[in-house]
């Protein structure tokens, strides 16, 4: 009989953020912990007349400054974000081209995408119907596709390890991180993982107009206020984050800083826009994540909420936290910094995961901008950041199509020896 292999723990060693409130991890954290909101009127060309008024746009991102032209012409904005964020994460992890080139099969990529390359696709479809099929560029075949970011990151950096893409709605961002952690446990040394989205071009925006959960409020400070009596839906955003996840032991061996460990995850499905049912689904996901992490409810020090902003969904989430965490669910600090930047679909829970790691490192829970007067039994952090010693964080995510996911992560310094 084979002996039981020692489980490999998946550690976060690098974080790369391209978000509406900052195109570096430092800028993102500064704005996030200060509770600065960057929600603003939509300015993207061709979108001004649409009934979606407020969004979280990434405005200070120069793709050409970080990504080579041959990759830019082949890819959509969502992949530009992904390549830039992957570079930042690898840089943060101290993994340069030369390091990964030595062992290309030990590095893989897992991304999640909920919307794909809408802007690139729109341009090519306009060629198709405006001029004819001969004027559609060949890169349309790959640029719009959900898997584009995984493929292009691996090609550009020469990674030959296991690559995959998770297309499971907004919660797919957490599922991708969990898939990366599983790949590490199965033996791959390093995974570049996360999600970035670019859903703010005209075609993509029109696709979202059918969502009942979308906020059409025109005032940026009133458009996205989950857990309040004035909740009126969510504000979409673009951007996201990529993480470097690797085996904790080999990370320590090469002298990398273990910033956090991904210890537990579970996902459930309860159907599109069936928010009342998401209570049970989300609670079950939380229980599954706690179970995998070997974590008691009382050990959770902070919850990063999904915070959809639809009254029925907010109620379901508050009840799910109480169902799964018991009495601790009413005491544990809960936050939703995404009210300051909007929901970047699959990118949103990865940004929350990045914020959770940074919160544990800084001993500071970032606040929930624009939200006051909570109408649920939650200790929501509002106004200013709250100082707290945190060892364990819970990140929650739900998708508009019915996916629910929960991720438990622990502070890296927690098990340094």
């Amino acid at each position: 009989m084979m002996s039981e292999p020692r489980p490999r723990r998946a550690a976060v060693t690098g974080i790369g953020v391209v978000a509406p409130n900052g195109t570096s991890t430092q800028a993102f954290w500064k704005a996030t912990q200060e509770g600065i909101s960057v929600l603003d009127r939509v300015t993207r060309e061709g979108c001004e007349h649409l009934p979606l008024r407020v969004a979280g746009e990434v405005r200070d991102f120069d793709a050409a400054a970080t990504v080579e032209e041959r990759f830019l012409v082949q890819t959509d904005r969502f992949t530009h974000f992904a390549m830039a964020a992957a570079d930042l994460a690898l840089d943060d992890a101290g993994l340069g081209q030369a390091d990964t080139a030595e062992a290309p099969y030990s590095v893989g990529v897992v991304t999640a995408a909920a919307s794909g390359g809408g802007e690139f696709g729109q341009r090519e479809l306009q060629q198709l119907w405006g001029k004819g099929s001969r004027f559609v560029g060949p890169y349309q075949s790959i640029a719009w596709f959900y898997a584009a970011s995984t493929g292009q990151i691996s090609i550009r950096r020469g990674f030959k390890g296991p690559c995959s893409v998770v297309a499971s709605d907004e919660a797919g961002g957490l599922d991708a991180l969990a898939h990366a952690a599983r790949a590490v446990r199965r033996g791959t040394d390093v995974l570049v993982t996360g999600s970035t989205e670019a859903p703010l071009a005209p075609y993509s925006m029109v696709c979202q107009l059918g969502y009942d959960a979308l906020s059409t409020v025109a005032e940026p400070d009133r458009a996205y206020r989950p857990f309040t009596a004035s909740a009126c839906g969510f504000v979409p955003a673009e951007g996201g984050a990529m993480l470097v996840v690797e085996a904790q032991a080999s990370a320590r061996e090469r002298g990398a800083r273990v910033r956090a460990t991904l210890d537990g995850h579970a996902a459930t499905f309860t159907g599109a826009a069936r928010w009342a049912e998401s209570r049970e689904g989300l609670a079950q996901a939380i229980r599954g994540a706690l179970d995998e992490a070997g974590c008691a409810p009382e050990e959770i020090d902070v919850v990063f909420a999904d915070a959809l902003g639809v009254p029925e969904a907010d109620r379901a989430e508050a009840l799910a936290i109480a169902d799964a965490l018991g009495a601790h669910g009413r005491r544990v600090p809960v936050t939703a910094p995404k009210t300051g930047i909007g929901r970047a679909f699959g990118g949103a829970p990865v940004l929350d995961t990045a914020a959770a790691v940074l919160a544990m490192e800084h001993g500071l829970i970032p606040p929930t901008p624009h939200v006051f007067d909570i109408c649920h039994d939650l200790d929501l952090v509002t106004g200013r950041a709250r100082a707290a010693q945190m060892r364990t964080a819970l990140v929650l995510s739900r998708g508009l199509m019915g996916s629910n996911s929960a991720l438990v992560l622990r502070h890296g310094a927690d098990h340094a020896s």
């Binding site: 041959r70 560029g137 060949p138």
Partner: protein, 85 residues
């Protein structure tokens, strides 16, 4: 023979269709090297052929397997183009 495609024009097409910046001089030096070494993949080649087909308004029936280098590509494109196109 002003209707023939030159290395200059090929360099322009590579930039437009595949985002590859190559000077005509470098392309001339590399005329017998493979496109892949210049960073052009098969979709990039397809884009270049599509640009030429649209420019000349005629399909180019090229055996791309036999067009691995700039010289091979230009030879075949120029003989496939209708005279006086």
């Amino acid at each position: 023979m002003s209707d023939r495609i030159t290395l200059d024009e090929l360099a322009g097409l590579m930039k437009k269709a595949a985002g590859i910046t190559v000077t005509p001089e470098r392309l001339k030096e590399h005329a017998d090297g493979e496109f892949g070494e210049l960073g052009i993949d098969s979709l990039g080649m397809l884009g270049i052929v599509g640009e030429l087909e649209n420019r000349f308004g005629t399909p180019l029936d090229l055996d791309m397997e036999a067009c691995r280098t700039p010289r091979e590509f230009l030879d075949r494109v120029n003989s496939a183009l209708p005279a006086g196109a």
